[in-house]
Subunit: 214 residues, 2 copies
DNA sequence: GTAAGACTGAACTGGCGAGTTCAGTAGCCA
DNA sequence: TGGCTACTGAACTCGCCAGTTCAGTCTTAC
């Protein structure tokens, strides 16, 4: 294959390896040699593509955050036209959002972001759009449509979105601070979150599901 | 005062300084000399009281986490005997919990804990009791009493506690990832959280407050 | 007054890792 | 063939910091 390879896919391999190693060791403990080894590349090649350890970190984090947010937004698209029964769609979307949230790479990116926010303040804007958190705002858009269509109680869509996301991610992060939760647990958390959300924001026609009062 | 001083309060000063500097720089970037300076103490004194940088970190984190959790639990005690009107008490307690959560020191402890959990796995047990998260379980105890007294809808108290805490902390962490939120914002978040919580878990007699449907 | 012990400041060792240099190799194009 | 470019591996410099040593000081106890 006579393509001008090397250049492109080595850079990609380095960025992948960088996120892997940074996730494993943290920024300071990660040494560039280990990243080079993980990428099957010599150390000077790393410095050739990405001048610094700092730029290496920045680029790797940017790429990883972009894909993570992309997955979230793609999942949220499925709320655009829910069928006639809101609750099951909401449950499915909630579960998939939670899967994105608990994905190993996504967890690592969040952890590194919060750990290194002081040293790399610009990285915070990866996750924040002009008006707050990007995923939250996208969810707020969907909820606003649903409220306007009479499928949800009219309320501040940004608050509702924040709360639905909090109901999803809070319990998951609380119960599994280190590792990704098993999928059964995720489903339980997602169902409980949607249940509570619909009790608070649903209209009479939408039932909250067979949870709770037993 | 002919007490054998020096010993005790120097140790305390060192631990305080350690948390301050670790919060400012992170574990790796914090150097022992800076901690010694912050504590107005010579570097060998630090090593005299706390053998290692690692033990220094462990002890400082343990002390800080203990006080933070103590504040949370003290606040939760006020839910033991709420008056005849649940909603305002819940709002006050929620606001104070949120204040504890957003306290600068508490934020730093959480950030350091998640950043260094891989290197100091034992530190996680600071926050976790035998059955999950200690604050969550304490809140679950209160909610169980309230449910038994007919003041809340009967439901799994652990799930309810997780969700109430998530409704409080999630939006705060989302909106203010770096600094402590201003108190007005905290009050708004707490009221919205209690509102949503009572819509989902309240019984007919407890009104969710004048929020929402505007 | 004097001895024991906590503390200080400064200097030192040793290791580790970021970033560089360089001589050499492999693929590509004329 | 011969030159260009990307890459390799190894060795090297340099600064930083954990942890130690030590001679001297200050406090307290008897």
């Amino acid at each position: 294959m006579p393509t001008p390879r090397g250049r492109i896919d080595k850079r990609q391999a380095i960025l992948d390896a960088a996120i892997t190693v940074f996730a494993r060791r943290g920024y300071d403990q990660a040494c560039v040699q280990e990243i080079a080894d993980e990428a099957r590349v010599a150390k000077p090649t790393v410095y050739n593509h990405l001048t610094d350890k700092a730029t290496l970190f920045r680029e790797a984090m940017t790429a990883a955050a972009r894909t993570a947010i992309g997955r979230h937004l793609a999942t949220l698209d499925r709320l655009t036209d829910p069928g006639d029964d809101l609750q099951p769609v909401l449950r499915e979307v909630a579960l998939d959002l939670l899967r994105c949230h608990c994905d190993e790479r996504a967890r690592a990116v969040r952890r590194l972001l919060s750990a290194e926010a002081a040293r790399f303040p610009d990285l915070l804007s990866l996750v924040h759009g002009p008006s707050g958190h990007r995923v939250t705002e996208a969810l707020a858009d969907r909820l606003a449509r649903l409220a306007l269509a009479g499928r949800l109680r009219p309320a501040d869509p940004s608050v509702a979105a924040e709360q639905l996301l909090a109901l999803l991610t809070g319990p998951a992060d609380l119960r599994w601070p280190l590792v990704a939760p098993p999928d059964d647990d995720l489903a339980g958390i997602a169902d409980a979150a949607v249940d509570t959300f619909l009790r608070a924001y649903g209209v009479g026609t939408e039932k909250p599901g067979p949870h709770g009062a037993g």
